[in-house]
């Protein structure tokens, strides 16, 4: 009796430990914030997913471009955002430049030199590293509406015709420039727009102001996203649903399927046909009549 109680207690304890281990493993495997820096898909601290959502909350339509601009240009009247691109081919940079000069609006920049801007502006300012510091608004323009100061690193030099909008004046964080019939806003650091800092100070206001009230298109090809086709093109929740349905179908097929067991013994031989019985009886009667005669 005592032995049984000990066993039961041990079994319960083992079950609880196993349950906790499973929970811990599930916790380890559950999705964590992820994504490449300055991608509007990324929920990681350096992503822009929150920025995209804030724009939508402000009534600004947002879409992600997974096709190169060289193949399909953004829509007229959109603000194209290209921040911290991994790589930008010359052909793509030229396509962006052509689209901007035709009247498009570009928000670009990031934490590295943006030499691809040569294809967009005649004399683009040069990017220089700078320590993160509070940067005050210099002038009231569209890009600084509602923004008094932001904390960011990086700076622009050799401004030329570009107007420094957020300072300091000699090494500004944000500049604006004309390009043909279009306009460009260059940020020297995308940190204020990233998830980790968007809710601080006037950073979210800066993000909304940069859109200039236009629909926004994030160029995601520069972060490694392309056009997904086939099964991979479906949203994750649809893929999991289809997988679950497939498993359910397999279980259903298995459940209703015929089970093949060992062969059964054949039934006992059936009795002889009734006609044989009738024939035999008739023969017996015939013989009996012959004997009677």
């Amino acid at each position: 009796m005592k032995d049984g109680r000990v066993r039961g207690t041990l079994a319960i304890a083992a079950g609880l430990v196993a349950f906790a281990v499973v929970l811990a493993i599930v916790d380890r495997l559950t999705p964590e914030p992820k994504g490449p820096p300055s991608s509007s898909y990324a929920t990681a601290p350096a992503g822009l997913a929150a920025y995209a959502s804030v724009l939508q909350r402000s009534g600004i339509p947002v879409r992600r471009l997974r096709t190169p601009v060289a193949k399909r240009a953004p829509r007229a009247g959109e603000t194209l955002i290209v921040l911290d691109p991994d790589v930008l081919e010359p052909k793509e940079a030229q396509a962006i430049g052509a689209w901007v000069r035709a009247g498009g609006r570009l928000v670009a920049g990031g934490a590295e030199d943006a030499s691809w801007l040569d294809a967009v502006l005649d004399a683009p300012p040069a990017w220089r590293p700078a320590d993160a510091a509070a940067r005050g608004t210099l002038v009231p323009v569209t890009e600084t509406a509602g923004v008094r100061a932001v904390r960011a690193g990086g700076s622009w030099k050799d401004l030329g015709a570009a107007l420094p909008a957020i300072g300091p004046p000699r090494a500004p964080f944000l500049v604006t420039a004309e390009a043909g019939r279009g306009s460009v806003a260059l940020v020297a650091d995308a940190t204020p727009l990233q998830n980790r800092a968007l809710a601080r100070g006037d950073n979210a206001a800066l993000g909304v102001a940069l859109a200039a009230g236009r629909p926004v298109a994030f160029l995601e090809t520069v972060h490694g996203y392309g056009v997904a086709r086939g099964f991979g093109g479906l949203p994750a929740h649809v893929r999991w649903t289809l997988l679950g349905l497939a498993l359910t179908a397999l279980v259903a097929i298995w459940a209703v399927g015929r089970r093949f067991g060992p062969p059964e013994d054949p039934d006992t031989d059936p009795p002889p046909p009734r006609v044989a019985y009738v024939d035999a009886l008739a023969a017996a009667l015939a013989r009996a009549k012959e004997e009677a005669r």
């Binding site: 005050g136 210099l138 009231p140 000699r170 006992t268």
Partner: protein, 278 residues
């Protein structure tokens, strides 16, 4: 034309009211008018450079224009003269609400076992390492890894279930064999039936007598006995009203759950010999 006239008037008023060298706080509309005029008017440009607040917000126009001359300066002035929409909404509050969503924080363990589970989780090896290794090994994305792992789990579950079921089936067969009569001798079975009847276990007596009868039919070649043979098969083979009655009683008691009566056993004693002799 009217807007241009208004802008010029505003600039003129500003030039009259405020000395060029003095700091000034202007409205946004006056600021843009001043910037538009500054492209062609050095006095307006000087006035513009002196502005240090717009609608009460501090600015540094002089700093923003510093170093620019000619076309570059004109371009900057045009940018300053462009209309700017007033800010709307509360983007910071929106950002806080968005960033409070789970997708930016991952999952947190709930419940009273949070500490225990966290403690165990800290001691578990990093499961992402084998996952990454599999990801590198298998073609396709991470979803392929999950599909393969799912298939492995299903296979393991099938193996375990099959092994468990096989063990249980073998155990049940062994129990059945132990419970089955050791002898297939009809006389031995009839003796055990009599003993069971005397002990009051009428159902066991009925079962044993029925099996003895079937064995006798087998011995006569009327049927080919096996433990799973059905009464229907025997009925088709022997074509006997006596057997039909015995089979009906047997099915009622064994499968129908009817309590056997002494008459049932009397009938069995009386009818089985007729069935076998036939």
């Amino acid at each position: 034309m009217t807007r241009r006239a208004a802008a010029l008037l505003a600039v003129a008023l500003l030039l009259v009211v405020a000395p060029a060298a003095r700091a000034a706080d202007v409205t946004a509309a006056d600021f843009r008018a001043l910037a538009a005029a500054a492209v062609d008017d050095p006095a307006a440009l000087a006035q513009l450079r002196g502005v240090d607040a717009v609608d009460g917000v501090r600015v540094d126009v002089d700093g923003a224009l510093r170093g620019a001359r000619g076309d570059a300066l004109d371009a900057r002035l045009r940018a300053l003269a462009a209309p700017a929409p007033p800010p709307s909404g509360d983007p910071r509050a929106d950002a806080r609400a968005v960033l409070a969503e789970d997708r930016f924080h991952g999952s947190k363990l709930p419940g009273p076992f949070k500490g225990v589970i966290g403690w165990i989780g800290d001691r578990l090896p990093d499961v992402k390492v084998p996952l990454d290794w599999l990801d590198d090994l298998l073609p396709g994305g991470r979803s392929v890894v999950w599909v393969v792992l799912g298939a492995l789990v299903l296979g393991a579950a099938w193996l375990v279930a099959r092994r468990t079921l096989t063990t249980r089936v073998r155990h049940a067969e062994a129990q059945a064999r132990a419970a089955a009569p050791a002898s297939l001798d009809p006389r031995e079975l009839e003796r055990r039936a009599d003993a069971a009847e005397l002990a009051g276990d009428l159902e066991a007596a009925l079962r044993l007598r029925f099996r003895a009868g079937l064995l006798r039919l087998d011995a006569r070649g009327a049927i080919e006995f096996r433990p799973s043979i059905s009464t229907t098969e025997v009925r088709r083979a022997v074509h006997s009203e006596d057997f039909d009655a015995l089979a009906a009683t047997f099915d009622d008691v064994v499968y129908g759950g009817r309590e056997p009566a002494a008459d049932d056993l009397d009938a069995a004693r009386e009818r089985w010999p007729r069935v076998v002799r036939r």
